[in-house]
């Protein structure tokens, strides 16, 4: 039986007339067990086999090894399939649908992936749809895919890709990996965000096998097939936004499903033993000094049951020493979300040749990374800009920046560091 907790970090004290309440809710799950324990699990491994994967040849060799490493981690009884991404996706193993993992099927699948060869184009939408078809053949409630590409989606239109994403959204989760410097960070991030997965850059093909192995281990360690985040706000309130802020930033606001006029629901996918932070912002009509109000119930629902709840409150006070406090968790994540945004905007401006905007945005990023102690972001920024003064955010764009360094900064921009406020 999984053990869930929800901790709320906020300053509930509002000055006279204030309306906006911000809170960070940390949801933690423990003892979730293994994937597939409730209704079975299915895995799809989708490997880009476009022509470019053969140049250099080390890419396709690494991809074969990575696929085999992932297959090795699939637990007995889990349904799985390996799909080759070419112009139209091709089943590698089994021929149709999925098979259950066993020593034998894993061996056959590994033998099949060792034969993968580069041919054809990149049509990621088609790959996703083929993956979906395979999933539909397996009697498993928990569906997860790994998608590897080395290029942009050129074999089909952007509309075709988007339509495929829409079709499979909510059907399976997908972790996306880009190898090399020729794929589009925004494109892959869009897929990963919609399909509740992660996106990572694999700069060196030699790192791919370890990454695939880790990804599959994580997927196999998710004993909760599907959890929903539910947010209640009182009558007359406006839910300003709901964001996941750790381990990565994802705005959930647009994914909401209205359950009742007061309750909205957001998919969060499968859970292992982990912790995720959510930033909830609610606007309520102000009340008199001394009044108190519950402004949000933040709940996790699994299988129709609320398993944990955090309460976000407001208390209007004339004590300025209480109302002027800024909750460190709220401040930290507000900074981290802006950091992700300015990195992405700065890199986009740089790509368009708008040096002023790029300098300004990446300067702000350097400042925020320093303020919020995001050392990883600072290190990645340093490969793109010279940081002259992190306090004021004064930076100079570097002249010759490796494309991979820019992509690494962009891909990691949504990763946040955590704070643990003292109380």
């Amino acid at each position: 039986m999984a053990d869930w907790t929800a901790q709320v970090f906020q300053n509930e004290y509002l000055p006279d007339g204030a309306t906006d309440v911000h809170a960070i809710v940390t949801v933690t799950s423990q003892g979730t067990g293994q994937a597939g324990e409730n209704g079975g699990a299915a895995e799809a491994i989708i490997i880009d086999c476009s022509g470019s994967m053969g140049a250099p040849r080390s890419k396709i060799i690494a991809a074969r090894q990575a696929a085999a490493a992932a297959i090795d981690e699939i637990a007995d009884g889990t349904w799985f399939a390996v799909i080759a991404g070419v112009g139209l996706a091709q089943a590698v193993y089994p021929q149709t649908g999925m098979v259950q993992a066993s020593e034998r099927t894993r061996a056959v699948a590994s033998a099949a992936v060792s034969q993968l060869s580069p041919q054809g184009g990149t049509a990621i939408g088609q790959w996703l749809l083929t993956g979906f078809e395979a999933f539909r053949a397996a009697p498993a409630a928990q569906r997860h895919a790994i998608l590897l590409t080395d290029g942009k989606n050129e074999g089909e239109s952007a509309q075709q890709l988007q339509s495929a994403i829409d079709t499979v959204t909510g059907e399976f989760q997908c972790d996306c990996r880009g190898v090399g410097a020729d794929w589009d960070v925004n494109e892959l991030r869009g897929i990963a965000d919609a399909l509740l997965g992660t996106v990572e850059l694999i700069a060196d093909p030699a790192d791919m096998a370890a990454d695939f192995q880790a990804m599959m281990q994580t997927a196999m360690g998710r004993g909760i097939a599907d959890a929903k985040l539910k947010v209640w706000a009182p009558q007359g309130a406006e839910l300003l936004f709901v964001r996941q802020v750790a381990p990565t930033v994802a705005d959930l606001t647009d994914r909401r499903v209205n359950v009742t006029p007061l309750i909205t629901e957001y998919p969060t996918g499968a859970w292992g033993d982990e912790s995720r932070d959510y930033h909830v912002a609610v606007r309520v009509p102000p009340k008199t000094l001394g009044a108190e109000q519950l402004v949000a119930r933040v709940q996790i629902e699994v299988g129709g049951q609320v398993v944990t709840q955090g309460l976000v409150k407001a208390l209007w006070s004339d004590q300025t020493e209480l109302t002027t406090r800024i909750n460190p968790a709220v401040a930290h994540y507000t900074g981290q979300v802006e950091l992700a945004q300015v990195i992405q905007e700065g890199l986009a401006a740089k790509a368009e040749g708008d040096t002023d905007t790029a300098t300004f945005k990446l300067g702000r990023a350097a400042q925020l990374a320093a303020e919020t102690g995001n050392e990883d972001a600072t290190q990645k920024l340093k490969k793109v800009v010279d940081i002259e003064d992190p306090v004021t955010g004064t930076v100079r764009l570097k002249r010759d920046v490796a494309k991979l360094d820019e992509m690494a900064l962009d891909t990691a921009s949504t990763k946040t560091t955590r704070v643990r406020p003292s109380a």
Partner: protein
């Protein structure tokens, strides 16, 4: 139902007599042996009824009784104690609670004018020859501190009520109570800790103060900034307890009392009861009642407007003589000063002869 020890009316579900704190027989069959004809009729004052309602409300499990609808909008109240429509907190039934177990003892606890609910709690034990007054003040900045304060006060009272105090010398009795108040603080802390829920970032916590008058022996102990005063009719008035607070630390360090207590941080307490409490060993104080006077145990909702013991005695003596009326008048006075906090006043008249 009546208490076998003091004869006060008790409810079937009560484990302890609310008037004297005696542990009541657990089995209902024991109670059934008392036929209605043998029960002494005890008139139930409005104050007693109010205190009883409070107890019953708080003891009810949420799934046993449907919660009454929200007082603000009439919507359904959730299991979490908040309205599911407008988000108002359900009443804890303690906006204004009074108790007067004997003609010389009274307590009033009031929400005040600013706080949304009353997080103070009191509990009284009266027995032959001695009385204990307990006050706990729930820390507003922590979650569900009203439950912690209530549980802590009850636990301390119950422990004290169950003790066999020696009939011996004043020294023996003083020694006994000095040990018992420490045990009461630990019991109160355990009860406060039990109200914490898993994963609470800001677990419930409360202050603790107890004062016991046993003949002329007075023993008081506290954790936090709720206070006990001994206000004799003649001779110097005494603040018995020393606050565990920022202000007190400043005063110790040489800052004037007025200046320290005027600081916004004055009320920040440095010790408390609850799961996140570092240390709950109370400071114990003793005194001797050389003549008649008032034993006053109160929360900062009262003393914040009148901290000095001599001034407080003048204030207490300016109120109606009857203890409950006096306690009510002191609460009214604190509300007139602004009622910025919950106000709890417990009073016992000590040492009158005849």
């Amino acid at each position: 139902m009546t208490c076998p020890s003091c004869g006060a009316a008790v409810a079937e579900a009560d484990a302890f007599c609310e008037s004297c704190g005696t542990e009541l027989p657990a089995a209902a069959t024991d109670r059934a042996t008392l036929t209605p004809a043998t029960r002494p009729e005890v008139a139930q004052s409005a104050a007693e009824r109010s205190a009883r309602t409070q107890l019953i409300t708080l003891r009810a499990e949420p799934d046993e009784l449907p919660a009454p609808p929200c007082k603000s909008c009439g919507g359904a109240v959730g299991d979490d104690g908040w309205c599911t429509v407008c988000g108002a907190r359900a009443s804890n039934g303690r906006e204004h609670v009074t108790e007067a177990p004997t003609p010389t003892v009274a307590a009033v606890s009031d929400k005040g004018r600013i706080h949304p609910r009353n997080e103070d709690a009191f509990a009284i034990a009266t027995k032959d020859g001695w009385i204990a007054l307990v006050v706990c003040d729930g820390v507003t900045t922590a979650t569900d501190s009203d439950a912690a304060a209530y549980a802590a006060a009850q636990a301390a009272r119950n422990l004290l009520a169950a003790t066999d105090r020696p009939a011996g010398s004043a020294d023996d009795r003083q020694q006994h109570w000095c040990l018992q108040v420490k045990a009461a603080a630990l019991a109160a802390d355990e009860a406060a800790e039990a109200t914490a829920s898993k994963g609470d970032a800001n677990p419930p916590s409360c202050t603790f103060v107890v004062a016991i008058a046993d003949g002329d022996v007075i023993v008081a102990a506290s954790v936090g900034d709720s206070r006990a005063y001994w206000l004799p009719d003649e001779g110097p008035a005494e603040q018995l307890t020393v606050d565990d607070s920022w202000a007190t630390e400043q005063i110790k360090a040489g800052v004037s009392r007025e200046e320290a207590e005027a600081d916004p941080k004055a009320h920040a307490i440095t010790r408390w009861l609850g799961i996140d409490s570092p240390d709950v060993d109370p400071s114990t104080v003793t005194s001797t009642a050389k003549g008649p006077g008032w034993l006053l145990v109160c929360s900062d909702g009262l003393w914040n407007y009148c901290s000095d013991a001599a001034e407080l005695r003048d204030l207490v003596n300016a109120q109606p003589a009857e203890p409950l009326a006096r306690a009510e008048a002191l609460v009214d006075w604190a509300n007139q000063q602004g009622g910025h906090d919950n106000i709890t006043v417990t009073l016992a008249r000590i040492g009158d002869t005849g």
